[in-house]
C-alpha cells in the first residue's frame, strides 16, 4: 500500500481532489434545490405540495446510477456536450437534493408552528417568514443530518467512475489496472476516502449528541 502511495500519488491525489470538488459543488446546488422543494412540500398551495412530493419520491426511489447515466448518455445526444464530471455532478445534485429536501422538510416541521403564525401576523409574507424566521432555526436542527448527507455524497460520488469523471474511484481503478496490485491499490483508495468521511462522521455524531 505504501508502495502504491509512493509511486502513484499524483493520480490518486488528483482523483481525491475531483471527488471533493464534485461533492462540494453537488452539496451547494442540492442544498438550494433541496430547500426549495422542502418549502414546496409544506406550502399551503396544494399544487405546489404535489410538485414537491413527486420530485422527492421520484428521485429518492431511482438509483443514482440510472440518474447519472441518463445525463451522461442523453445530454450529449440531444442537448449539449458534457464531460463525465459534469454529468456526474448533475446526477449527484439531483439525487442528493431529494434526500436533502426530506431532511430540511423534517427540520422545518420541527420548528414550532407559532413562529410562522407570529411572523405572518407581524406582516411578513410566507416567503419572508420562511427566509428570515423559519429557515435559520430549521438549519440549526438539520446540520447533523446534512453532514451525514455530505458523507453519503462523498461516498456516492464514486459513481463518477462509471462516467469517466476522473474521481478517486476512477483513478484508483486505473492505478489498479496499471500496477496489477489490486488489493493494495484499493486499500490506498479506501484510506483516502476514510480521511474525508471518518472525521466528518465522528464530528456529526458528536454534534448529534450535543444537540440531543
Amino acid at each position: 500500500m505504501i508502495h502504491i502511495f509512493a509511486t502513484q500519488w499524483p493520480s490518486l491525489l488528483y482523483g481525491l481532489g475531483q471527488t471533493l470538488l464534485c461533492s462540494i459543488i453537488a452539496l451547494f446546488f442540492s442544498l438550494i434545490i433541496g430547500s426549495l422543494f422542502a418549502i414546496f412540500e409544506i406550502m399551503p398551495n396544494k399544487a405546489m405540495r404535489i410538485i414537491g412530493n413527486v420530485y422527492v419520491e421520484v428521485f429518492r426511489n431511482i438509483p443514482l446510477l440510472v440518474i447519472t447515466m441518463f445525463f451522461f448518455v442523453v445530454l450529449p445526444l440531444y442537448v449539449v456536450k458534457v464531460n463525465g464530471f459534469t454529468a456526474g455532478t448533475i446526477g449527484l445534485t439531483i439525487y442528493t437534493s431529494a434526500f436533502i429536501a426530506e431532511t430540511v422538510r423534517a427540520g422545518i416541521q420541527s420548528v414550532d408552528e407559532g413562529q410562522m403564525e407570529g411572523a405572518q401576523s407581524n406582516g411578513l409574507s410566507f416567503w419572508q417568514s420562511m427566509r428570515y424566521i423559519i429557515l435559520p432555526q430549521a438549519f440549526k436542527i438539520v446540520i447533523p443530518p446534512l453532514g451525514n448527507q455530505f458523507i453519503n455524497l462523498v461516498k456516492n460520488s464514486s459513481v463518477l467512475a462509471f462516467v469517466a469523471g476522473f474521481d478517486l474511484m476512477y483513478e484508483g481503478n486505473m492505478v489498479a489496472n496499471d500496477t496489477l496490485q489490486t488489493m493494495s491499490t484499493f486499500f490506498a483508495v479506501g484510506v483516502l476516502y476514510l480521511i474525508i468521511t471518518m472525521p466528518l462522521s465522528y464530528y456529526m455524531r458528536h454534534l448529534e449528541k450535543k444537540l440531543a
Binding site: E57, N61, L64, V73, F162, T182
Partner: protein, 217 residues
Amino acid sequence: MQNFIDAYSWINIRYLLQGLWITVEVSVASIIFSYIIGTILGVIRYSEIKYVSAVVGFVIDLIRNLPLLLIIFFTYFGLPNLGFKPAIIEAAILAMTVFESMMIAEIVRSGIVAIDPGQMEGAKSNGITYWQALRIILLPQAMKNMIPALVSQFISLVKDTSLATIIVLPEMMYHAQIIYGQNSNYIIPMFIALAVLYFVVCYALSLLSRYLERRLA
C-alpha cells in the same frame, strides 16, 4: 412515438425483466444475510463487551464510511489476489452483505439505545440475565421502532444493486445498457423503463414500511 413502441417490444421488456429478477435475487439474498449479521453486530456493539465491542464498532464505522462501489471492487478484483475467486453474483451478494450489515448494525444499535433503560433494569430485577433480556425484551421493542430506518436501508440496497453493473452482473441496469447500446433511439425509452421499474419496486417497499408502521405501532 414509434421509438417507444419499438423499444418496448416484448423481447426487450422480457430482457429487462430478466435483469430485474437478478436485481431482486441479489437484493433478497443480501437483505436476509445482512439483516442477520447486522443484528448480531449491532447487539455486540451495543452490549459493551470488553475490547470486542470497541473493535466491532470501529470496523463498522470503517466500512460504513467507504463507498459501496469500492467494496464491490474489493470483492471482485481484490479477493482473487488472496486466492479466493468468487463468481460475479457471489461477489455482488458478498459486497452488498458486508456493506449493508454495517449499516444495519448501526440502525440496530441506535434502536436499542433509544429504548427506555428501565426496561433492562426491570428485566434484570426480575431475574432475567442480560442476554435473555436483550433477546426477549429489548430487541423486539427496538425492531418495531427500527422498521422505517430498516426499510429505507433496504430500499437503498435495491437501488445500489445497480452499481454491480461494473462487475458485469447481468441485472436490470446492465441489460438496459445492452439494449440501448444497439440502437440509440432506444435510449430515452430504456431510461424511462428503468426509472419506472426501480421506482415501482422501491416505492412498494416504502408503502410496505408505512403499512407495517401503522400495524405495529
